[in-house]
């Protein structure tokens, strides 16, 4: 069992857990993820390993509540346990001294981009990070990102904080500054990765994205996570999760993510009803 050591709320709908997982804490590298199953009836869901503390034997997970499993995770408290955690899974990010790397995180995407920015920084790169959110309240990990970046640009869709606009606008202004960029790493919602890649491509910038397709086993056994990259079917859990941003079929990924929308909604409805029954109010 994997005990939760601490729990914080970073923003409305975003929780930060430190969970006991000693071997994973020692082995994990930037870009890797775990699959967890909360309890005996739970689904297996993937989450990025945001950070780890090998001495304490813990890993850090940052979770956006979007459905039954992630809401249930949000209800756990320090001292509770998660039944199964498998990892570290996926290929680690290819880290080397590229020169200047721009790390872009949109929304919850800041969490998975953070370990990559940290590793890039440690490898001697000049790291310029862009983090974006819908509004100031939803902005997460600003302090963390500052620590691993030579420069941090923040953007909000509504202009309530930092640049008024999308992360692509922020990238455009870095390009306009005449900055020489050697690599772009972009993680966030699919449209954000798609448009970031398009912009990067226009400017001939190599781009890495991290894909979040629906997974089951995470070991390459089922093929459920497959996405077309460069016209070939790739298994995100073992061939990725990172791919060349210019090669990914984003529309197919978006489509495949929607495979279970009806059932996910049904699960959420039941979950909500149970909540009302238990707490006398809808959370």
């Amino acid at each position: 069992m994997n005990r939760i050591i601490s729990k914080d709320r970073l923003a409305e709908g975003i929780v930060d857990l430190r969970v006991e997982a000693p071997v994973i804490a020692r082995k994990r590298k930037a870009g890797q993820f775990i699959l967890l199953r909360i309890d005996e009836t739970g689904e297996r869901i993937p989450l990025t390993i945001v950070d780890s503390n090998p001495e304490e034997g813990s890993i850090r997970l940052i979770i956006q509540e979007v459905g039954k499993t992630t809401y249930s995770l949000g209800e756990l408290e320090a001292g509770d346990s998660i039944k199964d955690i498998a990892g570290p899974l996926g290929k680690a990010t290819h880290i080397e001294n590229f020169g200047t790397v721009v790390c872009i995180g949109g929304g919850i995407g800041v969490a998975p981009v953070y370990p990559i920015a940290a590793a890039m920084k440690e490898a001697g790169n000049r790291v310029i990070s862009i983090i974006g959110a819908r509004n100031h309240d939803l902005m997460i990990m600003e302090e963390d990102m500052k620590k691993v970046s030579d420069r941090l640009v923040v953007a909000t869709d509504d202009g309530s904080y930092g640049i008024h606009g999308f992360v692509t606008d922020a990238l455009q202004s870095l390009i306009d500054e005449g900055l020489k960029i050697d690599l772009v790493v972009a993680i966030g919602p699919v449209p954000m990765m798609k448009f970031t890649s398009l912009l990067a491509k226009k400017n001939n910038l190599p781009t890495i994205v991290s894909l979040n397709s629906v997974m089951v086993d995470g070991t390459g056994m089922c093929g459920g996570c497959r996405v077309s990259v460069g016209g070939k079917s790739k298994f995100v859990c073992v061939d990725g999760p990172e791919f060349d941003g210019h090669e990914v079929d984003y529309d197919e990924l978006t489509m495949r993510q929607s495979a279970y929308h009806d059932m996910e909604k049904e699960a959420m409805d039941i979950y909500h009803k149970c909540k009302i029954g238990r707490d006398g109010e809808d959370k």
Partner: protein
């Protein structure tokens, strides 16, 4: 072998007329096809004690029993059948367990008709002795008694063995080596043991409680299980040997890499590999959604592509998940189908619609990217190919479309590359199977052995167990030759 009785003692007089000359092979009662097609409960019910004793009396206790050579793990078949016949069920169970730690499983899923039963001498003139059914009976009987006998475990040898994968191959090695006094730890990638027995073969053919119970027996032999441990990621083989103190490793990681057809439309929503479809349903219990969280598409019309056991399991699962129509699309004819006859027969009885000599060429989607139909072409059999089977060739102009909302691709599995990729020293063949010596299972790395589907490609439970058995002998010798 024990001495041979002069004639069959008449233990059956209570249930069978004494003079009746030839006792027919005893049938196992089954759930009615049209009822069982809508539930996940096991199809056959198994023998009663009486029926089992009658069936056991059909064995003539050959002096040189051919059946034993037909069994890859070499069970003393007349030995255990004799004890059933004589009503010594406990003793029968003990004899069985000496060579097979997973009898309730093998009795259910072994292709007996091609292994032990095909060589049974009774089979020359009549139907062979129902060895598999008796095996299943005795294992179920012992489990139902509630007390499973644990054999004596040799004193600790101080040697530590790591097993990669809790499938039948790994479980066999684990059990054998634990009995010999070695300290055994099984590392399993998933959260449950059993490999294909747990995630692939459906509940209605192999109840998961039985898999759990037989794994529990292996646990009671002193084997430790670590779940969620993907070797190659969690620990590498080198780390197991050098840092974690294991003296030898057995790799039984199976053939878990699904093949797709590479036809247009294969990434549409509603196209599954059989592995995914079955894993969602079996391991994750999607059939019980929303009590279990994992979803599976609620299909009405399903096409399953392939003609093996995996295809039959997928088709029968689709029916039980509520589909109205399930087509089994296979490019050759019925005689070339690799599935067991029993499975084909069960599938037909339940109402699976066989579309033989048919090959899919394209899957078509709607505006949301969901499967709406499949374009197929009719085939005819031409000259024999390399496999000796007549090669199916497309009939030009015979394309037609079938309306389906789900397609399950069950055309085979390759070797999962995860572990070899993490271990470049581990030699593989061009299909990615780990190279291992026939007799011993020794790989290209010292002290590291392998067996089962990862070595021979997708095969059978009992072959995986047979490989585990021979590897465990070699591993024991190797372990005992070490100074520790």
């Amino acid at each position: 072998m024990a001495d041979e009785p002069k004639k069959i003692p008449d233990v059956t007089k209570k249930t069978v007329k004494p003079k009746k000359p030839k006792i027919p092979r005893q049938k196992m009662p089954e759930q009615e096809p049209l009822i069982r097609a809508h539930n996940f409960e096991e199809v056959p019910y198994g023998y009663s004690i009486e029926t089992a004793m009658i069936e056991a009396s059909r064995c003539i206790m050959c002096k040189k029993p051919k059946c034993i050579h037909g069994c890859p793990v070499g069970i003393d078949i007349p030995g255990f059948i004799r004890e059933i016949r004589d009503g010594n069920l406990k003793k029968a169970a003990r004899i069985m367990k000496q060579s097979n730690a997973l009898p309730a499983i093998c009795g259910r899923v072994c292709p007996q008709e091609e292994q032990c039963e095909i060589v049974c001498v009774v089979g020359i003139k009549q139907e062979p002795v129902a060895i598999g059914r008796l095996e299943r009976f005795i294992a179920d009987w012992e489990r139902d008694q509630g007390e499973i006998e644990i054999p004596e475990i040799a004193p600790s040898t101080g040697r530590k063995v790591a097993i990669v994968g809790a499938g039948p191959a790994g479980l066999t090695v684990a059990g054998e080596l634990a009995k010999l006094g070695h300290q055994v730890t099984v590392f399993e990638a998933l959260h449950k043991p059993g490999g294909v027995l747990m995630y692939g073969i459906p509940e209605f053919r192999l109840p998961k409680a039985i898999v759990e119970a037989e794994v529990d027996y292996v646990r009671q032999l002193g084997v430790e299980f670590v779940y969620n441990a993907v070797i190659g990621k969690y620990f590498t083989l080198d780390e197991l040997m050098e840092e974690e103190g294991f003296h030898s490793i057995f790799i039984g990681s199976g053939a878990g890499l699904p093949y797709f057809m590479n036809i247009p439309g294969e990434n549409l929503i509603g196209v599954y590999s059989a592995n995914e479809y079955l894993t969602r349903s079996n391991l994750m219990k999607a059939y019980d959604f929303p009590n279990y969280d994992t979803p599976i598409i609620r299909s009405k019309k399903v096409a399953v592509i392939g003609g093996g056991n995996v295809a039959m399991d997928s088709a029968r699962t689709a029916l039980r998940l509520g589909a109205d129509d399930v087509y089994l699309v296979y490019r050759r004819s019925r005689v070339e189908m690799p599935a067991r006859d029993e499975e084909i027969h069960h599938a037909e009885e339940e109402g699976i619609d066989f579309r033989l000599l048919t090959n899919p060429i394209k899957i078509n989607g709607d505006e949301n990217g969901r499967v709406k139909s499949m374009t197929c072409i009719k085939m005819e059999l031409g000259e024999p190919d390399a496999s000796g089977r007549r090669r199916p060739v497309p009939i030009e102009g015979s394309e037609y479309e079938v309306e389906v909302d789900t397609v399950v691709v069950a055309i085979g599995n390759g070797a999962n590359p995860l572990l070899p990729e993490a271990t470049p020293e581990l030699k593989t063949n061009k299909w990615g199977n780990i190279l291992a010596e026939d007799e011993t299972g020794l790989t290209s790395m010292k002290g590291i052995y392998a067996g089962g589907d990862i070595v021979i490609g997708a095969a059978t439970v009992i072959l995986a167990m047979g490989a585990g058995k021979s590897a465990s002998k070699a591993m024991n010798e190797y372990l005992m030759s070490l100074d520790v």
